[in-house]
């Protein structure tokens, strides 16, 4: 059974079509990289996938979706709001539970962020904020990961560390990324988008480099 399925999906913006119609099927245990020029429609495709799979999809959107006035701890904890009762969540908002603090701290250690547990997210740098959003997705431990350029603000080794952590936690994932080398390294399959349509769909180990270059 497919983990994610789009059948004749399309998206319009202000009346004019920006994506599709296209079909896409992602199997369980498959990591798909969306590649293509910026503006080709990768983010739109991700939001269509998200609409198709609302439950149990962990998101790392391009805008990160962080609450700047809350601490790093609370932002990461928000990944598991659905697992607890409202009362538990409200108490944890005022007085964090020790068990949750330990668990969140463990996630942050993978990402070299454990020093800023109680910093307000709004005070962090762009790269740190991106890692907080990634930590939230890791903490959520959903079934599927939908990430939009999750390492765009990170340098080489940090980007590798984040991608390692994400692919260790999520077997099934769709990740938009402009860095083709990273895509080839982590994805099982590359889907190239051009002008709102799928222009390339190949396993990462059988990639046709001419077709890949034609995307950009």
């Amino acid at each position: 059974m497919a983990a994610l399925l789009l059948d004749g999906a399309r998206a319009d913006y202000g009346g004019s079509p920006v994506l599709g119609p296209l079909d896409l099927k992602v199997e369980r245990g498959e990591c798909v990289a969306l590649v293509g020029r910026s503006g080709a429609g990768k983010s739109t495709l991700l939001s269509l996938l998200r609409d198709a799979k609302r439950r149990d999809a962990a998101l790392v959107p391009q805008n990160l979706g962080l609450v700047d006035t809350l601490s790093v701890f609370h932002n990461v904890y928000m990944g598991q709001l659905a697992q607890h009762s409202n009362l538990y969540n409200l108490i944890n908002l005022a007085r964090p539970f020790a068990a949750q603090v330990t668990a969140v701290q463990a996630e942050l250690e993978h990402l070299d962020m454990s020093n800023s547990l109680w910093t307000r997210t709004g005070e962090l740098s762009g790269g740190q904020r991106q890692r907080v959003a990634v930590a939230r997705a890791l903490f959520q431990a959903g079934e599927v990961l939908l990430a939009d350029e999750p390492v765009s603000a990170l340098d080489g080794p940090r980007a590798i560390a984040v991608m390692d952590a994400l692919s260790a936690r999520y077997e099934t994932a769709v990740i938009a990324m402009h860095d083709v080398d990273l895509a080839l390294r982590y994805a099982d399959r590359l889907v190239g988008i051009r002008d709102g349509l799928i222009a390339l769909d190949q396993p990462a180990d059988q990639i046709n480099y001419d077709a890949l270059r034609a995307l950009y």
Partner: protein
């Protein structure tokens, strides 16, 4: 915009023509002089009873506003339900003094009357403003959360924290308003400042009046010093125990109020629909319509007078026009103007000048004009003029006014509904607006009539609010809810 302003001016002039603005007192200025002497030489010998009054004023304000804030937050969460929106519009259209007059009938002089009179209309205001503030917030975190996240957790994690500081600054502004409402509730028998003020006034103890007014001004002006986030929790917990005991509730009164008092008289007496129709017709023809007329006339005059005072007073606190020393005293004057509740000011002026619309117009214009003057004065401090900009009157007319007129009108329209609410209530003091007829009906123990008249007042307020909104939209006068909050200098 110019045309709208001219229309407002024209309507106000026409209203002045039909309004009764005469000074009736025999020697109004001598009386004013004695009051001024009392203010200059306040008498602090009765400070003990005054401090109890002040404590009660603060306690009622904290309990009422605290309760309202909690209720308002809960309602803001479901404010997208039409029934909640309508209900809130309705409860906030009824002035806290009217609520107090209603609750007095079945709770009597129990503290609950005062607390609910503040809490209910304030909850309606909080619900609307909180939900408007939350809408201004960043929705992206909320959109990123997993779909099955419980809605209450969503609300508190992804929506409230982003706007928390705005919510709190609005709440602290409303606390200041709550202090004024609480003081005013003394005029209908609550043990707050208004009660002591009224009796001191009745006995002609102007030095005592002066002391009470000064204490109240100090209380409001020092609010920022002693209302601190960590202390507020303590205040909120302590306040309900400091309301005084009042008189016990007679539950029989409460039952009778609902089952008999507010049932229209013809129905109670079994006169059927025909009786009801003529009863309602008389009520509308002889009381509601004259009341509505006077309320509208007074509101329109007061609105324009408010605008004039605001436009004249904002340069006092603007760095475009006066130096630091001048601004300091300007701030002082505007704080005094907006700290004294309209009702209290109108009460004092009415004693001095006799019953007519003049005291009401002056009181409304001073209070509301000082608030708007403060807001646009602050806005003018953000203006960047070219280095060789003209000065003085030319600067005012060519540089400042054209840039500030739009926000000025926005604030004025926003205060329209507030001015009308107050206008109606000033009737209790003897001016023939709707409040006058409500108060008379209550004194004659005709609660059925009072309730109908209060409902009519509420509908009138809702109507004016809707009109002001339409005008704001038509003139593209957008103000964020937080920009309407006068932040203290």
């Amino acid at each position: 915009m110019v045309r709208t302003s001219l229309w407002l001016l024209f309507i106000a002039l026409a209203a002045i023509w039909v309004a009764d603005l005469e000074i009736r007192a025999v020697s109004p200025w001598a009386e004013l002089g004695r009051l001024a002497a009392g203010l200059i030489q306040p008498d602090f010998t009765t400070i003990n009873s005054a401090s109890v009054a002040l404590l009660r004023t603060v306690a009622f304000a904290f309990t009422g506003v605290g309760l309202a804030a909690i209720l308002g937050m809960a309602l803001a969460f479901i404010f997208h339900w039409r029934v909640v929106r309508t209900g809130c519009a309705f409860v906030r259209a009824i002035h806290e003094l009217f609520w107090a007059l209603i609750f007095l009938q079945f709770f009597g002089l129990h503290p609950l009357t005062g607390v609910l009179a503040i809490a209910i209309p304030y909850a309606g205001v909080f619900a609307r403003v909180y939900s408007e503030i939350l809408e201004e917030g960043d929705q992206r975190a909320n959109e990123t959360l997993p779909a099955d996240t419980p809605v209450i957790s969503r609300f508190w994690y992804a929506r409230v924290p982003d706007m928390w500081s705005h919510l709190m600054s609005y709440t602290s502004y409303r606390l200041e308003c709550g202090m004024r409402s609480s003081a005013i509730l003394g005029f209908v028998g609550m043990p707050t400042l208004g009660f002591y003020l009224e009796s001191a006034y009745a006995e002609g103890q102007y030095s005592e009046v002066g002391m009470l007014l000064l204490l109240f001004l100090i209380l409001i002006a020092s609010l920022r010093l002693w209302v601190r986030p960590r202390l507020v929790v303590f205040y909120l917990l302590a306040a309900p125990w400091l309301l005084g005991t009042g008189l016990p509730i007679v539950w029989g009164n409460a039952t009778r109020f609902f089952t008999q008092d507010i049932i229209p008289a013809p129905l109670r007496n079994g006169e059927g629909l025909i009786g009801l129709t003529s009863w309602l017709g008389d009520l509308i023809w002889y009381q509601a319509l004259p009341g509505i007329g006077a309320t509208l006339v007074l509101t329109q005059i007061a609105l324009v007078a408010t605008g004039v005072i605001a436009l004249l007073s904002f340069p006092l606190i603007s760095r475009l026009f006066v130096g630091p020393v001048g601004r300091f005293s300007g701030h002082g004057a505007l704080i005094i103007g907006r700290s004294i509740p309209e009702y209290l000011l109108a009460y004092i002026l009415l004693q001095l000048w006799g019953p007519s619309m003049l005291p009401a117009v002056v009181a409304l214009a001073i209070h509301n004009g000082a608030i708007i003057g403060h807001l646009i004065g602050r806005q003018s401090n953000g203006l960047m003029l070219r280095p060789d900009a003209p000065s003085g009157f030319n600067r005012y007319t060519y540089e400042a006014l054209p840039r500030l007129y739009r926000p000025f009108l926005a604030f004025l329209f926003y205060r329209w509904e507030i001015i009308m609410r107050e206008t109606a209530i000033l009737g209790i003091l003897g001016i023939t607006t709707l409040g006058f007829y409500v108060d008379s009906a209550i004194q004659e123990l005709r609660f059925d009539r009072a309730i109908v008249l209060i409902l009519i007042t509420a509908l009138l307020n809702i109507g004016v609010d809707a009109l002001a909104r339409r005008l704001r939209r038509a003139l593209a006068l957008r103000t964020t809810p937080t920009a309407q909050v006068p932040i203290q200098p």
